[in-house]
């Protein structure tokens, strides 16, 4: 290498020249030690010898790298044409253990895979012995999923063994090619891949279990050692070879980095048993499902750290639609502590089969508390004091970290005196560096806990992938059970402190905004709507201040969450303004917006159209809103413009007549705006679906928009009503069929078939259909007994059913339908009362049931009871009016109440009601 300039000694350091000479000799393969070489140049003495040692260290590092990157380059084999009785056909691959050839065993004329090890001279006698022994053991394993070993031996100084030739690919190649497919993220593709992974996993688990029972461990379970043949039959290969060849540099090749990925944490401390193979198979399945390794690390050291701490990527985060059971199974197999894994490969396999056959699985998901306690175990110093102490400690770490930043910033100041003052804080600063690392871990763990208790953070879930948003579109908020409640409050404390401490810290701003958003979500779950609004608004302010265009969809999504809380607080106008702002942000600037941005846009339109009071055209609710800068006045033209853009058409003339922007929107105008929004949402969604037909998210939102459209169409446009409703129901049924366990889809399917409670609804479903809906709703409630939405659905179904039954059968039995009505009322009395103020819709539904009960009791001749209920009802109605609840026109809300009151001789109550309504206006 230096022939070209090595001679120009006068311009070079003598030590440099000597070093170069030495290096060349070493590279040529001369066996000369640093000491020997240095001895030849006594003038430089010990200095040279030391330098050369350092140089050798670098040289070793380089060699390792070359072999690790290029794999097998050092396996030098002369070109082979035959080996013993085997005629070599071609080389099929190189791995850690040698070179694999396709060959023909001439005596039997059978095709074999011949694995040839490096020259025997490189193997020690012990190793050879071990290799022979392992080959024999492997040859004794007979299993449909283990590659049979036929023969092993030595020829021409090369050691080899022959096994059945499997015409196929190893799973690492399968993963590689799947990853290259553009549709690898689509949901059906994922579903198929999950099933494939589970099936292969179960079969491999069987094979491993078989070997384990014979007392043989594979010792190197990984995708590269699992072969998939043309019939999709999976084969485990290379049993025990890793052990036979370990030590002395024989497994020196590139796939070791791969192997590390699948090593169980306990292996690093020298333990290895069958459960380590359960782990390795789990990690393999992870990769097959996610198409990426379980651990992402940039260096070996980091990789080992992550494995030991169990900090793998979360499957659900990578693939939001992964079946829960499968995720759970993989997580169990990959538990850090062997005791928490499946005890045997057979158990692992049988759980995978349970998933495949849709039976309940044995593994349980880790609860938030378990996650926390897992974290405690990993941080033993903190663990003894319990969960609360952990949170306190974590909070302290946050505080400490903030101090660190302050110190750091202070250090940037110039003057010497300031610096001197700060020097005493240096030690604290170093400690803070540790805190920072801890904090990162902690934030991660808390995110996990948060996700587990609250469900995926709606805000960030929907940002990561539109696929993820199933539950977030709906009003379906999982209820918080009392155990989790305490933990949530602690977490709130954490996020709150974090956000508060770091509010002015530029570096942490984004993290802080997220924390505020989480505080908002938790507060909302805790029923503290006002606090939730405050937190969301702070998050929004921060995100606006950051002003990062990449985070604008985050802001848009946040505003949509905020709007939904405002609706719950009975502030539809504010909610509408949030949605409009969200829409405005999403529309700004994006020439060719990403699917998720378009999806968010569709969602904003949908939310706008469904703001309570909008559809009913209750003008005064929208007062002041119409003319605002981000107001709804131009919503329709804008919606139409968007619609036009989705159609890739030139803008069409607005259908709305020009009008005074400050004028109060009329009933008809509001309705028209709502329709415009739905139209825009539908167009966007249909365009999105044209790009990805599989997405359950797009389909779900589409169904909801269609239901809304049908309801708006109402009786005025029966054709649109039935067409949209039919399409919506078909989509929902399909979704339920695809994901029978998804309660959100079942809920929506029931919901769609129940006419909205707020409107008078003649016609509608028959008693038979309603009975069916009641039973569906009961199933949902049994599933999640505490879920208020499910209870509300059941109550509404019961109430309507009771009313219809009464209409149909009151001639025969005047008390018909009373039982379901009373059950409904009992449920409705408690619904929503845990939050102040109570959401108006709950009160509205309760009153509707009361009205129906009045009617039944009256028909049954129980006049006094009817009067009592009627009085209660009127009192509630007047109270609701005072609070501004009860949307829509009075006559809509009252239904047949005036007639009922007349029949009861309580007409004065009617006058009171009308008086109250006048006062309100």
């Amino acid at each position: 290498m230096s022939d070209r300039d090595g001679i120009q000694g006068e311009s070079r350091e003598p030590l440099d020249l000597l070093a170069e000479e030495f290096l060349q000799r070493v590279r040529k393969g001369e066996s000369i030690s640093a000491r020997q070489f240095a001895a030849l140049h006594p003038a430089h003495g010990q200095e040279l010898s030391d330098l050369l040692d350092t140089l050798l260290l670098l040289e070793n590092a380089k060699r390792d790298r070359e072999t690790s990157v290029s794999g097998g380059r050092r396996l030098q084999l002369p070109k082979l044409e035959r080996l013993g009785e085997y005629r070599i056909v071609r080389e099929v691959g190189r791995g850690g253990m040698g070179v694999v050839f396709e060959a023909v065993q001439e005596s039997l004329d059978r095709r074999v895979a011949l694995k040839v090890l490096p020259q025997a001279s490189l193997l020690s006698g012990n190793q050879l012995e071990r290799f022979r022994r392992e080959a024999q053991t492997a040859a004794r394993l007979h299993h449909t999923h283990i590659v049979p070993v036929f023969d092993s031996g030595e020829a021409d100084g090369l050691h080899f063994y022959a096994m059945q030739f499997i015409d196929g690919r190893s799973l690492d190649m399968v993963v590689k090619s799947l990853r290259a497919e553009p549709s690898s993220g689509a949901s059906t593709v994922l579903r198929d891949r999950c099933r494939l992974a589970a099936r292969l996993g179960a079969e491999v688990a069987d094979a491993l279990h078989h070997a384990h029972q014979q007392g043989t461990l594979h010792r190197d379970v990984k995708p590269a050692n699992l072969l998939l043949d043309g019939d999709e039959h999976v084969w485990v290969t290379d049993f025990g070879l890793a052990k036979a060849l370990q030590h002395d540099g024989l497994t020196h090749t590139g796939d070791v980095l791969g192997t590390l990925q699948y090593m169980a944490p306990e292996q690093f401390s020298g333990h290895y048993d069958a459960r380590s193979e359960v782990y390795a198979l789990g990690a393999t399945l992870f990769e097959l499902i996610a198409l990426r390794p379980a651990f992402a690390a940039e260096s070996r050291a980091e990789l080992i750290d992550r494995i030991r701490a169990g900090r793998c990527e979360r499957l659900r985060r990578l693939l939001p639609t992964i079946p829960h059971d499968l995720e759970t199974i993989v997580a169990r197999a990959m538990a850090i502590e062997p005791a928490r894994r499946y005890a045997t490969a057979a158990e692992f396999g049988s759980d995978l089969r349970a998933y495949l056959e849709d039976r309940p699985i044995a593994a349980r998901r880790q609860s938030g508390l378990e996650l926390l306690s897992g974290w405690c175990r990993r941080n033993r110093a903190l663990a003894s004091a319990g969960v609360i102490a952990v949170v306190a400690t974590v909070t302290a770490a946050v505080v400490g970290w903030s101090a660190y930043w302050t110190t750091r910033e202070a250090l940037n100041l110039r003057t010497a005196s300031e610096r001197a003052a700060i020097q005493s804080q240096q030690a604290a600063l170093q400690a803070s560096e540790r805190d920072r690392a801890n904090l990162e871990d902690t934030l991660e763990v808390f995110e996990d806990v948060f996700d587990t208790i609250v469900g995926p953070d709606p805000l960030y879930a929907l940002l990561e992938d539109a696929e993820e948003n199933g539950a977030t579109v709906t009003a379906l908020r999982a209820p918080v059970d009392t155990n989790a409640l305490a933990l949530l409050e602690r977490m709130l404390d954490f996020y709150d402190k974090f956000a508060e401490r770091n509010r002015d810290n530029a570096t942490l701003r984004h993290q802080t905004a997220r924390s505020y958003a989480r505080v908002g979500t938790i507060q909302e779950r805790l029923g503290a709507h006002d606090e939730a609004v405050a937190a969301y608004e702070r998050a929004a302010t921060l995100l606006r201040e950051i002003g990062d265009p990449e985070q604008k969809d985050e802001l848009a999504a946040l505003l949509q969450e905020l709007g939904q809380v405002q609706v719950r607080r009975g502030q539809p106008r504010v909610a509408a303004s949030c949605y409009s702002q969200s829409l405005e942000i999403l529309e700004k600037g994006a020439v060719d917006p990403l699917p998720k941005v378009r999806w968010l846009g569709a969602r904003a339109h949908y939310l706008l159209a469904t703001v309570p009071g909008f559809r009913e055209g209750r003008g005064e609710l929208m007062r002041g809103f119409a003319g605002g800068p981000a107001g709804g006045a131009d919503a329709l033209p804008r919606a139409r413009r968007n619609a036009a853009r989705e159609r890739r058409r030139d803008s069409e003339p607005s259908l709305a007549p020009p009008r005074d922007p400050l004028a109060e929107p009329s009933f008809a105008q509001l309705q028209q705006q709502a329709r415009g929004h739905i139209e825009a949402a539908l167009l966007t969604l249909r365009a999105l679906l044209a790009e990805d037909q599989e997405s359950s998210e797009y389909r779900f939102l589409l169904a909801r928009c269609l239901i809304e459209q049908a309801r708006m169409a109402g009786r005025a446009e029966p054709n649109l009503l039935s067409a949209s409703m039919q399409e919506a129901l078909a989509i929902l049924k399909q979704l339920v069929a695809e994901q029978p366990k998804n309660d959100a889809y079942r809920f929506e399917l029931c919901e769609a078939q129940l006419p909205p409670s707020r409107a008078r609804s003649p016609g509608g479903p028959t008693p038979a259909v309603l009975e069916q809906l009641v039973s569906e709703a009961r199933t949902l409630v049994e599933h999640q007994p505490l879920h208020p939405e499910f209870q509300a659905l059941l109550a509404r179904a019961l109430s309507l059913w009771g009313s219809r039954v009464h209409e149909a059968e009151s001639q025969r039995d005047p008390r018909a339908g009373l039982a379901p009505l009373e059950e409904a009322l009992a449920l409705q009395r408690t619904l929503g009362t845990d939050r102040k103020p109570r959401e108006p819709r709950f009160a509205a539904e309760e009153m509707q049931t009361m009205r129906r009960i009045v009617r039944v009791k009256l028909d049954a001749g129980d006049v006094e009871a009817a009067k009592t209920t009627a009085r209660q009802l009127v009192t509630s109605l007047i109270a609701a009016q005072r609070e501004g609840g009860g949307f829509g026109r009075l006559e809509d809300r009252l239904g047949d109440l005036p007639q009922l009151l007349q029949r009861l001789g309580l007409s004065e109550l009617m006058r009171e009601l009308e008086e109250a309504e006048r006062r309100r206006r």
């Binding site: 290498m1 230096s2 022939d3 070209r4 300039d5 090595g6 120009q8 311009s11 070079r12 350091e13 030590l15 440099d16 070093a19 170069e20 393969g29 640093a34 030391d50 330098l51 040692d53 350092t54 140089l55 050798l56 260290l57 670098l58 070793n60 590092a61 380089k62 390792d64 790298r65 070359e66 690790s68 990157v69 290029s70 380059r73 030098q76 084999l77 002369p78 070109k79 850690g96 690492d172 370990q246 030590h247 540099g249 024989l250 497994t251 020196h252 796939d255 070791v256 980095l257 791969g258 192997t259 590390l260 292996q267 690093f268 992402a296 940039e298 260096s299 070996r300 050291a301 980091e302």
Partner: protein, 215 residues
């Protein structure tokens, strides 16, 4: 075919005869506009380019990307930009190395995304920060890895704590097998200075490693 041959070549075999004279003549032809001279000249540089790729490739891409393929890409990129070489002061090996660097940057961007993170990586690339990943990412067998871990760790830490320029000199000389002259040219310093730097860097590294002995 050439690839195959290198694959099977044994270190004791004599490298393909590529005489310095030939090289000079071919380079002259290439500069004069004879594109046909490029292939044999590139062949002579192939191993070094591969080493550079091996060293600079992000560890996250191990197993996904074959360095040999990257070298092939460098070949194509260089071939298309021969006009640029003709207007360039650098000798061919260094020019090829620059093309190789750019190819790697593009590759990293493509595979690892153009996030802020990878922008940082690219900067790191330029000053051989990848060294830590390189050493730490270089693996032997799992069991050996554990034994060597400490040694690696020390080397990594030591290299990380060095001056950028010291680190770069060691990198170029040891991991990319550049000659002193080439290093000098690349860093824009005199040969004497480069040689000084090298010995000084080596001495410092030795110091940082303390009494640690090579195996």
């Amino acid at each position: 075919m050439a690839r195959r041959a290198t694959f099977w070549s044994v270190s004791r075999m004599v490298p393909p005869p590529c005489m310095a004279d030939d090289e000079a003549k071919l380079t002259e032809q290439l500069r004069a506009g004879d594109d046909a001279a490029f292939a044999p000249l590139f062949e002579a540089q192939r191993d070094r380019l591969r080493r550079m790729v091996q060293f600079r490739l992000d560890p996250r891409l191990f197993g996904r990307i074959d360095p040999e393929d990257v070298v092939q890409e460098v070949y194509l990129a260089a071939q298309q930009r021969l006009y640029a070489f003709r207007g360039d002061q650098h000798p061919l090996p260094l020019w090829l190395r620059l093309v190789g660097q750019q190819t790697l940057i593009d590759l990293h961007r493509r595979h690892l995304g153009a996030s802020k993170r990878s922008a940082a990586k690219e900067r790191a690339f330029a000053n051989s920060h990848g060294l830590s990943g390189f050493i730490a990412g270089s693996l032997t067998s799992p069991s050996q890895a554990a034994m060597r871990d400490e040694q690696k760790q020390q080397l990594t830490v030591a290299l990380d704590s060095m001056d950028e320029i010291d680190r770069e000199v060691l990198t170029l000389r040891h991991f990319e097998d550049l000659t002193n002259k080439e290093v000098a040219e690349l860093l824009g310093i005199g040969e004497n200075a480069a040689s000084n730097r090298y010995v000084r860097a080596l001495t410092r590294l030795k110091g940082l490693l303390g009494g640690f002995q090579a195996p």
